[in-house]
Amino acid sequence: MAQYLALTYTADVDWWAPEQAEELAEYRKFGVEYAEQVKASAVLHPTATATVVRVEGARGGPVITTDGPYAETKEALTGYYLIEADDLEAAVKIAAEIPAAWGGAVEVRPVIVAR
C-alpha cells in the first residue's frame, strides 16, 4: 500500500459560510464513501487567514511573518485528503471522486514512507 496526499485546489471560499453548506456536504459524502481509504483530511479556512512564516538566516534567527496569500489566484489550496491506495491509478480513481476534481483540481502527490 502506498499513501498519496490529494490536495484540493478550488475557489478561495469560506467553507463555513452558509452558501457553501451544500457543496461541503458533497465533500462529506465523499469522505464517508471512501472512509476506508481516507486516512486523514482537512478543510482549510480561506487564504486570507493564512500567515507565512520564515526564519531569517538560520534556525533561531528573527521570525518574519507575512500575511498570505502572495497573489490572488483563481484556485487556492483549500483542503487535503491522505489516501491509501495500491498504486497511482487506484489513487487517481479515488481523487476523481473528490468534488474539487470537477470544481477545480486535485493534485495527487505520493507520500514518502520510511522503509
Binding site: A2, Y4, D86, D87, L88, E89, V92, V108, R109, P110, I112, R115
Partner: protein, 447 residues
C-alpha cells in the same frame, strides 16, 4: 584499416540486434526486479558486454538467451552492490525484490540461468512497458522520450537529436520520469480491456509523433544516425501485433505505412523536399500502399464508432495513393475527409490542408477567404502565395512567399522549394503587362 572497417560494420550490426532484443529483455526484467532504472542498467551492462565480445567472437547461436542470462546476472550484481552500499537495513527489502509475482499469480524467482520466458509472457511484458512509458500521468514529451529510451533503446544523445533538445535536458527528463514511475507507483500492467479505448490514444500519439519527428524535422538538419521513422513503424507493428483486434493501433500502422510509401519520392537528389503535386508516383512503394490500405479497411471494419483522427488521416493518404497522378485526385472526397478530420481533431495543419484541397476543386476565391480565418504561419503564407498565383496575382504572391521565407526556420525542409516558387512568380510578375500590380478585386473570369 580495412580490418578496422569490417569490425566497425560488424559492430553496427551487433548493436542493432542488441538494441532490438534489449527491449524484450528490458520489458521482462522491469517486471521481475520491479524497478525501471535497475532493469535498464542491467540491460545496458549486458549490451556493453555483448558489444565488447560479439564483434570479435561472432554473435552466439542464441543471442536472445545470451543477453537475457547476462542481463539477469547483471541485475543480481547491481542489487548486491546496492545492498552492500545501503547497509543491512535494506537487505531484507532488496532480497524480496528478487522474487516478484508472475502475471498468473505464481512467484517467480530471478534465476539468472532459468529458461527463456515464453513468447506470450514477453508479449505481455512488452505491452506493460508500452503502457507504462505512455502513461497519462506523464507529460506527452516525457512519454516520447521514454519510448525512445526504453522501447527503441536509443541513447540520451540520440534522443536529444531526434527531439531537437540537449542531452542534458533529455537525461534530466528521463531521470524525473523514472523517479515518478517509482515514487508515485505508476503500475507496470496492461490496462483492462474496457480501459483500452482511454489508454490507447496516448500510446498511438507517441508512435505517431515519433514518426513525424523523423519524417519532417521542422528545424535543423536530420543529423542523427537513427532512422526514427523505421523505429516508429517498428513500434506501430509491435503494438498492432500485440493488440490485433484494436482499431486504433491498426489505423496508426496503416497511416505510417501509407506515409512511408511516399518517402522515396519526397526528397529529390539534391535533398530538397518535393511537394505532393510534383512527386514521381512511380517511386511510391506499392507494397506498402497495398498493406496500408488493407490495414485501414481492417481498422474501419473493427471500429463501430465515428472514424478517429488516425483512420481519417490514413484514408486521406490512401485516397492520394489510389490515383495515378495529382491531377486525377478526387479533391471533393479529400475535402470531405478533411471536414471529418477537423470535426474529431481540429488543427491549423489540417485546416490549411483542407484549404488547399478546396482550391484544387477550383474554388480558389473561397479558399483564399478561408485562409483569413486561419492563424498566421509560414505555411499559410506559402499557400496564400500559391493561391494568388493561380489568380495571376504574381506580385502579391511574391510578397507572400517572401513572408513565408522570412518566418520559417533557416533549415526549413521546404525552404529551397519556396525560394524557387518565389523566383518563378517574380519572373511571371515581370512578364505581366501593366498595371503590374492590380488592386485586389474580384476577378472577372471564374477559376
Amino acid at each position: 584499416m580495412s580490418q578496422r572497417a569490417t569490425l566497425n560494420e560488424r559492430y553496427v550490426a551487433v548493436a542493432d540486434t542488441i538494441r532490438i532484443e534489449g527491449t524484450r529483455i528490458l520489458a521482462t526484467l522491469i517486471r521481475t526486479v520491479g524497478d525501471v532504472q535497475l532493469a535498464e542498467d542491467a540491460v545496458q551492462e549486458a549490451a556493453l558486454a555483448a558489444l565488447g565480445a560479439w564483434p570479435v567472437t561472432g554473435v552466439p547461436p542464441e543471442p536472445r538467451a545470451w543477453l537475457t542470462v547476462t542481463a539477469r546476472r547483471k541485475a543480481i550484481d547491481i542489487i548486491r552492490r546496492e545492498r552492500a552500499r545501503a547497509g543491512k537495513e535494506r537487505a531484507g527489502a532488496e532480497l524480496q525484490d528478487l522474487t516478484r509475482r508472475h502475471p498468473d499469480g505464481s512467484l517467480e524467482a530471478l534465476d539468472p540461468d532459468g529458461a527463456l520466458d515464453p513468447d506470450e509472457v514477453v508479449q505481455d511484458d512488452l505491452l506493460r512497458l508500452i503502457f507504462t512509458c505512455c502513461h497519462p500521468s506523464l507529460s506527452p514529451p516525457t512519454r516520447v522520450a521514454l519510448a525512445l529510451r526504453t522501447l527503441c533503446g536509443l541513447s540520451p544523445a540520440q534522443i536529444a537529436a531526434v527531439l531537437l533538445t540537449t542531452e542534458v535536458a533529455t537525461t534530466k527528463r528521463l531521470v524525473r520520469a523514472r523517479q515518478k514511475i517509482a515514487a508515485a507507483r505508476i503500475p507496470y500492467r496492461v490496462p483492462a480491456e474496457d480501459e483500452l479505448p482511454d489508454r490507447l490514444p496516448a500510446v498511438c500519439a507517441v508512435i505517431h509523433s515519433l514518426y513525424t519527428a523523423g519524417h519532417a524535422p521542422s528545424e535543423g538538419e536530420a543529423a542523427y544516425d537513427v532512422d526514427v521513422c523505421a523505429e516508429a513503424i517498428r513500434l506501430a507493428e509491435l503494438l498492432h501485433t500485440l493488440l490485433p483486434d484494436q482499431p486504433t493501433p491498426t489505423a496508426v500502422l496503416s497511416l505510417l505505412l501509407l506515409t512511408e510509401a511516399r518517402r522515396p519520392a519526397r526528397v529529390d537528389d539534391a535533398g530538397d523536399v518535393v511537394t505532393l503535386d510534383l512527386q514521381d508516383r512511380s517511386r511510391w512503394d506499392q507494397s506498402l500502399i497495398t498493406r496500408g490500405v488493407a490495414l485501414l479497411n481492417e481498422s474501419l471494419e473493427r471500429s463501430n464508432r465515428q472514424a478517429d483522427a488516425y483512420q481519417l488521416q490514413a484514408a486521406i493518404a490512401a485516397e492520394h495513393a489510389r490515383v495515378p497522378s495529382y491531377t486525377a485526385t478526387d479533391w471533393r472526397e479529400i475535402v470531405r475527409l478533411y471536414d471529418l478530420l477537423l470535426e474529431v481533431s481540429p488543427s491549423p495543419a489540417a485546416e490549411l490542408a483542407r484549404v488547399v484541397a478546396i482550391a484544387e476543386t477550383g474554388q480558389v476565391d473561397a479558399a483564399l477567404k478561408l485562409l483569413d480565418g486561419i492563424p498566421q504561419s509560414s505555411r499559410r503564407h506559402a499557400i496564400r502565395g500559391e493561391l494568388l498565383a493561380r489568380q495571376s496575382r504574381y506580385s502579391e504572391a511574391v510578397d507572400e512567399l517572401d513572408e513565408a521565407l522570412a518566418t520559417a526556420a533557416a533549415a526549413h525542409p521546404e525552404r529551397a522549394h519556396r525560394a524557387r516558387r518565389r523566383d518563378r512568380f517574380q519572373q511571371l510578375a515581370a512578364e505581366q503587362p501593366a498595371p503590374a500590380r492590380p488592386a485586389r478585386q474580384p476577378r472577372a473570369a471564374g477559376d
